[in-house]
Amino acid sequence: MTRRTRTMAGVFVVLASLGLVGCGNPPQPPPPPAAPSPTRPALPPRPAVLRLDKVNPCDLLTPAQVSELNTDAGVVGSNNDGLGSRDCLWQRYPAKPDDAWVARVILKQGAETYLSDTSRVTQVAGISAVETSSDQHNPAWHCLLYIDVAPGQSLEVQYSNETGDHPGLNHAVACQLAADAAQLMLSNLRAGAH
């Protein structure tokens, strides 16, 4: 398993948008996360705390930065992770390449929750992050970063490409594309925190 506390709520959202889920079957809240294994290393200390409570995820990139990423304006969403988190999607579909970025402000789970046997700890703009992927998609075409911004909170930054049509795309490139966007977001988050 590459990610903890996965629920079917996300898929219910997709299915509900297609009219496939009855009104009497709302997504169930996810089970509480399992405690991290004591054998796993903890994340390094945070250089600063950047709380996400009042952050609108679509404000994490400026319009100029959205243009730099060659994508469309963000669309806000909520509870696509079953944790009630707000998110923002930037995509150009159906334009090619099929790049998409998602920023999710997770207020109920810290980044350490996403440590697993297949994740790795990395740094984004001097802040620790858990780099991982989803079992449901080709890891060569996406990357998930859970940035350790505050106790019990994390900033998820996802890069994905459903068709793998970004030139030279592999998991490392996908993670670099996620990290590039995350760096911009953290810079804006820090600027807003002052």
Binding site: M1, T2, R3, R4, T5, R6, T7, M8, A9, G10, V11, F12, V13, V14, L15, A16, S17, L18, L20, V21, G22, P31, A34, A73, V75, V76, G77, S78, N79, N80, D81, G82, D87, L89, Q91, Y93, P94, A100, V102, R104, S134, D135, Q136, H137, H142, L144, Q158, S160, E162
Partner: protein, 129 residues
């Protein structure tokens, strides 16, 4: 829940779009509706399906079998959704070609879609949350 035969949702799109009465007056509206819905579903897949995974509550055989069964089903449903969005987009592309045959320029088609799509995405982004 509806029965999901392999490719059934995409097949339905092709069958239903084939029944549309396309005219010079409605071609842009039809194109906009299909293209905006395709974009919405494609986005929903991006924001929701990467978080969709059923973990094993224990190391026992039943937990493992159940989790693998759920995850295989999720994987299958996600693929159905991708095929559905792609079928909608392919139909929208056909309507764009028809619109050009009716005399609409590419700029007109793009401008009409941009105006429609902005409001559509905002209205429906949380419709299934």
């Amino acid at each position: 829940m509806r029965e999901l035969g392999h490719g059934s949702m995409a097949s339905e799109v092709h069958a239903n779009v084939g029944r549309f009465q396309v005219t010079p007056e409605n071609v842009l509206a039809l194109h906009n509706a299909l293209a905006a819905e395709a974009k919405l579903i494609h986005g929903k897949i991006a924001v929701a399906s990467y978080s969709a995974h059923v973990g094993k509550p224990g190391a026992d055989e039943v937990s493992t079998t159940a989790a693998e069964g759920f995850n295989a089903k999720i994987d299958s449903l996600v693929k159905q959704c991708v095929a559905y969005a792609d079928a909608l987009q392919a139909s929208a592309d056909n309507l764009a070609r028809i619109a050009k045959n009716y005399g609409h320029t590419e700029a007109e088609i793009n401008a009409s879609f941009a105006t429609f799509n902005t409001g559509y995405q905002a209205r429906h982004a949380n419709s299934a949350s």
